[in-house]
């Protein structure tokens, strides 16, 4: 599964969005799609688990989780944009 698909799966399971995660464009604003601060913590946790990474505190900002693209960029910056097989 590629990173994008994994991110979408996590968003679908934990994001409580108003739109199905598979139907989102990469740059759609997740907060405008209903991502609450409560749900975003679950999304962060599930991403850490799925990608085997830990987001440092500097990345725990609203802008990091703004869109699928920004999440992907943050994961790439952590040197692990591809989930373990």
């Amino acid at each position: 599964m590629d990173a994008d698909a994994t991110i979408r799966r996590v968003l679908e399971e934990h994001g409580r969005l108003s739109t199905p995660a598979t139907a989102l464009a990469t740059d759609d604003d997740l907060y405008q799609r209903g991502l609450s601060s409560h749900a975003s913590v679950n999304v962060m946790l599930a991403l850490e688990e799925a990608f085997g990474v830990e987001f440092p505190d500097e990345l725990l900002r609203k802008s990091t989780f703004q869109s699928i693209g920004s999440i992907r960029g943050a994961l790439a910056g952590l040197g692990n944009a591809v989930p373990p097989a």
């Binding site: 108003s18 604003d29 907060y31 405008q32 799609r33 209903g34 991502l35 609450s36 601060s37 409560h38 913590v41 962060m44 946790l45 850490e48 830990e54 987001f55 440092p56 505190d57 725990l60 900002r61 609203k62």
Partner: protein, 393 residues
């Protein structure tokens, strides 16, 4: 050391021009009518007028708009020194100042810059209508939406509480961007109170903080396009507004703790003078209260300093710091309640009486407001959730 008529001793932090002005407004204007404000549950209009006259209402507004562009730490000192005289006046100052800061930091569009100039020139008082019936203290979601279906936009919101709404000139409110927006897709709008309808939905006959007059209202009125802040509400809340809110309200709770300690201190000193050579039994208790209050003061001062450095570095949105500010609010509000009840025990019957100089009446009741003015449990629950992902506590 300065002692005022209401027996409150100026805390050592009354240094610097703004804090001195705050102290004088508290001592000379707010304190003499504080009991009346409390008894009648009316807004402290004399103190508001004095804050307007002495520039306190515009101290946080940008200098180029005619404001004082003071630091948030200085505003926290003002809130703190006012609180010992009249907690309701201190809260009006604090809540107004949160919105003045939001206007300074995020009101960067030209109509909002004009509004900041008007606010500074006329000493406009800004109220807030973020909380909503149905979502309570969780302001990251809104039910009400800006109605953008007609040429003139409007807002109609069931507000849980709007402090001093009827004395205000402007009301800043969060709402969904439009009818189709998700609950989290919020904007922040500046309404003119005079253009709005305020229908009282719930009263304000409360245990304490009676002068804030925080009734529930149905708020409805026109939303000028230029009055919508240029950034989403979430940015305002995460990048400055939320942090300043915690700092300034915590300053009020610290000010109440200061006042409780000062009264208990004065009581045992008076007892010691009557029985030189013995240590009054309450003195040990006062030493204990001081330990708790010093802790609360130090937390506030450290948080205000950290705020200033993160603000200067452009790093206000910082999860561990936001968590530590929620902790600050929980710690200071509970310290105020504890200091007040213990000081009551120190002062005994004269503390229990309402007409004695050592009366703990208002302090005890007002301090309890800190516990519920966004519930401490809610904040601890937020922190419990956030610490699952934060890497440093």
């Amino acid at each position: 050391m300065t002692t005022s008529d209401d027996g409150v001793v100026a805390p050592s932090l009354v240094e610097g021009e703004w804090a001195r002005v705050g102290w004088e407004v508290g001592r000379d204007v707010a304190a003499p009518v504080a009991d009346e404000v409390d008894r009648d549950a009316r807004v402290p209009r004399e103190a508001i007028e004095a804050m307007r006259q002495r520039g306190l209402l515009s101290m946080l507004l940008p200098r180029d708009a005619g404001g004082g562009e003071a630091g948030v730490a200085e505003a926290a000192q003002v809130a703190r020194v006012l609180a010992g005289h009249c907690a309701s006046s201190a809260l009006v100052f604090a809540m107004h100042s949160i919105e003045a800061y939001n206007l300074r930091r995020h009101g960067t569009s030209s109509p909002l810059r004009d509004l900041a100039r008007e606010a500074a020139a006329d000493g406009l008082l800004i109220a807030n209508a973020n909380s909503e019936v149905g979502v309570g203290g969780d302001v990251s979601r809104s039910i009400a939406a800006v109605d953008t279906t007609t040429t003139s936009w409007t807002l109609d919101k069931a507000c849980l509480a709007i402090s001093y709404a009827e004395a205000s000139d402007l009301i800043f409110a969060s709402a969904r961007r439009d009818e189709d927006a998700a609950e989290t897709d919020q904007v922040f709008v500046a309404l003119r109170r005079g253009d709005c309808r305020l229908e009282t939905q719930s009263g304000w006959d409360t245990l304490g903080l009676r002068g804030t007059c925080s009734q529930g209202y149905r708020l409805s009125g026109p939303v000028a396009r230029g009055s919508v802040f240029p950034v989403p509400f979430a940015t305002i809340a995460n990048d400055g507004g939320g942090q300043v809110r915690q700092l300034l309200l915590s300053a009020v709770w610290v000010g109440l703790a200061d006042a409780a300690l000062a009264r208990a201190h004065a009581f045992v000193q008076a007892a010691a003078r009557k029985a030189v050579g013995t240590v009054p039994p309450g003195a040990l208790r006062v030493a204990e209260i001081a330990e708790r209050v010093q802790g609360a003061r130090a937390l506030l001062v450290a948080a205000a300093e950290r705020f200033a450095s993160l603000e200067a570095a452009g790093q206000l949105e910082n999860l561990p710091f936001q968590m530590s500010l929620r902790t600050l609010k929980v710690a200071t509000s509970s310290a105020a309640v504890e200091a007040a009840t213990r000081a009551l025990e120190v002062c005994g019957i004269v503390g229990f009486k309402r007409d004695s100089p050592f009366s703990m009446d208002r302090i005890v009741r007002d301090a309890h407001g800190g516990l519920v003015m966004v519930s401490n449990d809610r904040y601890l629950q937020d922190n419990a959730r956030t610490l699952l992902v934060a890497k440093h506590l």
